[in-house]
């Protein structure tokens, strides 16, 4: 490209995706895949645990997907459930093929505020995906934190993500409790909803922090269970989902009360949200 063309060519800006190549792919459940992506221009996408990208498959549209990779290094990792046109096309991408990536966007998990305290990570279903970078960061720096706990619930045993890694995290010092809503006789673990794991977990209610992601109803009941255990909503952080379409706080779709989820979230202190979540259809 000549110098004149360089001069007139607009700088891409936050609405223009960068091309990433699928370098690894693993099926997690019947409809969920984990993709590893490497940037075509070579520069690693730096992010903080809890942030998301806008991910697109050629011509099929764009969706907000939390980053699930290791903030310390390695490829960009996304765990995606095929529930619509765009997510199905993303999940169908084969190694060597390309996807579009914008971001990262959003406010991360405030891990530094939790230093010195017990940390409860509570996940429901695919809600474990946005928590994985936080778990990896907590384990990598576990000397700075108190007891690390993961409470994880899925609908059924075959709906659980990262099953091999759950054991690895446990071996590295995180107490991992898994429950499912229903299971056959081959399942020897807990059966029941996630909030019911809260009273079994040991933590110092006066200083512990909790990181939540899952269906809103699961998070509400978890917050109640945590409150009963003495952990107040100021120390509960939750990652929220709304219809993020731009990531740049310009499109309006992800409004949640006086906030924009892509800018003020997706991670919030539950105390910031409870007033708004109490209003139906807000």
């Amino acid at each position: 490209m000549g110098a004149a063309a360089e001069l007139t060519r607009p700088r891409p800006g936050p609405m223009v995706p960068a091309s990433f190549t699928v370098t690894g792919k693993r099926q997690e459940t019947a409809d969920t895949w984990t993709l590893e992506l490497e940037p075509r221009d070579g520069a690693r996408l730096e992010f903080a645990p809890g942030q998301f990208t806008m991910l697109s498959a050629f011509g099929a549209g764009e969706v907000p997907i939390s980053i699930s990779g290791d903030p310390g290094g390695g490829p960009l990792v996304h765990t995606v459930r095929a529930v619509g046109l765009a997510t199905a096309a993303i999940c169908a991408a084969k190694p060597g093929e390309a996807l579009g990536v914008r971001g990262p966007f959003g406010r991360p998990w405030p891990l530094e505020e939790l230093e010195g305290a017990d940390v409860l990570v509570v996940a429901g279903g695919i809600g474990l995906a946005p928590l994985r970078p936080a778990i990896l960061a907590l384990l990598a720096g576990q000397e700075r934190y108190g007891r690390l706990r993961l409470l994880y619930g899925g609908r059924a045993p075959d709906q659980l993500l990262y099953t091999a890694e759950l054991e690895e995290w446990s071996a590295r010092g995180m107490e991992v409790a898994v429950t499912v809503d229903s299971a056959g006789p081959e399942w020897l673990g807990h059966v029941g909803v996630v909030p019911r794991l809260v009273h079994r977990a040991r933590f110092d209610p006066d200083s512990a922090g909790a990181l939540l992601c899952g269906p809103e109803v699961m998070m509400r009941f978890t917050v109640s269970a945590l409150a009963q255990a003495g952990l107040t909503s100021e120390r509960v952080r939750a990652s929220m989902e709304r219809n993020m379409q731009c990531g740049t706080a310009h499109c309006g779709h992800c409004q949640l009360g006086p906030t924009l989820v892509c800018r003020d979230g997706p991670v919030y202190a539950w105390s910031e949200l409870e007033r708004w979540l109490a209003v139906r259809e807000l």
């Binding site: 060519r9 607009p10 800006g13 609405m15 011509g59 706080a249 310009h250 209003v279 259809e281």
Partner: protein, 380 residues
């Protein structure tokens, strides 16, 4: 701007303005009559202005009427706003070709081909609306260079309102009727028995340079008084009122007020209010491919919080009822906008009132909610 800095420009010399702007490379966008409404389009001379027309506005009502004079700017606001140029109804964000492995190659952000615009005829409420949109689009951590480019070099020639419409309430919102800043030149149109002229205030260096190219004279006491009387007339005619005292917390306290149910019985959820609003900024994107699947473009279009899809997430829409969508729109405009972007999202232009097909009036809805609290307080 001090009064002594005002100037006069006679009607017969008005077209010099178009000439001076053209010489400076500006494309003029201004008011013109189309389809029985006053809209903003590219214009080249004063003959295209809505000469001798005014607009009659009420809830659910907009009609053009003939004036008895040949005023160029003798109307209030029409269905268009400058939003069309700050955030066009549809833009292509980028286009690309598909390469062999599904990647995007030759990805080209949309080139900045927008002309250098001069906005002629912006009212005080509209200048405030432009400022509000600027804060949304350009005031955050992420800005799109294309949004920035559209605002660079825009020259604004404001027109001071000499009358207010029945649906106007800019006085309540603190956005008018008289513009004090945000323009390069502001005109006040004065029609006297035997003289038709404009009183000009200069608001920027660029405005001063432009004035230098026009046949103007210093405004005398009589002319300054005539302009001032026109401003006062507009302020006195304000058709509606919205009490903004504590409005954010008023609405936050009333998210479950039964009034939302009542307004939802009338609201068609058509989104007209969001289309005509000079600050409503919601957009969505759509990817478009050719039939062979080798070429893809992403288009950004205006969207409206009144559609069911707007709040869609996996599992359904967050706001499935009209009640919740009207509440979202009005509380955003008057309350959550303050938390999100530091000011109200309403400038009191009244467009949403006039262009609502069933005549829903935001000032009436806000009043009903305020009054319902007063009634509540009076109960023993």
């Amino acid at each position: 701007m001090s009064e002594s800095a005002s100037h006069t420009l006679e009607r017969q010399d008005f077209d010099e303005l178009f000439g001076a702007l053209a010489r400076r490379g500006y494309t003029v966008v201004g008011p013109t009559v189309r389809d029985q409404a006053i809209v903003y389009e590219e214009i080249a001379s004063s003959a295209e202005l809505p000469i001798g027309w005014t607009d009659e506005q009420e809830a659910g009502h907009y009609r053009l009427r003939r004036r008895e004079d040949a005023a160029l700017f003798g109307y209030n606001v029409g269905p268009h706003s400058w939003k069309r140029y700050q955030l066009p109804p549809e833009v292509r964000l980028w286009r690309a070709r598909r390469d062999a492995d599904g990647g995007l190659t030759e990805l080209e952000p949309e080139p900045r081909t927008a002309p250098r615009y001069a906005f002629l005829g912006a009212r005080s409420c509209e200048l405030h609306a432009m400022g509000i949109l600027d804060r949304v689009l350009l005031g955050g951590a992420h800005t799109d260079p294309a949004d920035r480019a559209r605002r660079e070099d825009v020259l604004v020639i404001a027109v001071q309102c000499a009358q207010a419409g029945n649906t106007c309430f800019c006085s309540s919102m603190g956005t008018g009727p008289t513009a004090e800043s945000g323009f390069d030149i502001a005109l006040t149109e004065v029609l006297e028995q035997d003289r038709h002229y404009f009183v000009l205030e200069v608001g920027s260096e660029r405005g001063g340079e432009l004035l230098g190219e026009l046949r103007h004279a210093p405004a005398g006491q009589h002319e300054r008084a005539a302009a001032s009387a026109a401003h006062d007339r507009a302020a006195a005619q304000m058709g509606r009122e919205l009490d903004v005292t504590d409005i954010r917390d008023l609405l936050y306290r009333n998210l479950e007020n039964p009034r939302w149910e009542e307004v939802a019985e009338r609201c068609l959820s058509c989104g007209n209010c969001t289309m005509v609003c000079p600050t409503c900024f919601c957009t969505s994107v759509e990817d478009v491919t050719d039939l062979a699947g080798e070429h893809v473009e992403r288009h950004q279009r205006w969207d409206s919080c009144f559609t069911v899809d707007y709040s869609h997430i996996h599992g359904g829409s967050v706001r499935a009822s009209t009640r919740s969508r009207y509440r979202q729109w009005m509380t955003h405009k008057l309350a959550t906008w303050i938390d999100q972007f530091g000011s109200s999202g309403c400038v009191g232009c009244g467009r949403c009132i006039a262009w609502c097909p069933v005549g829903i009036d935001i000032t009436e809805e806000a009043r009903a909610i305020r009054d319902s609290e007063a009634v509540g307080d009076a109960r023993p």
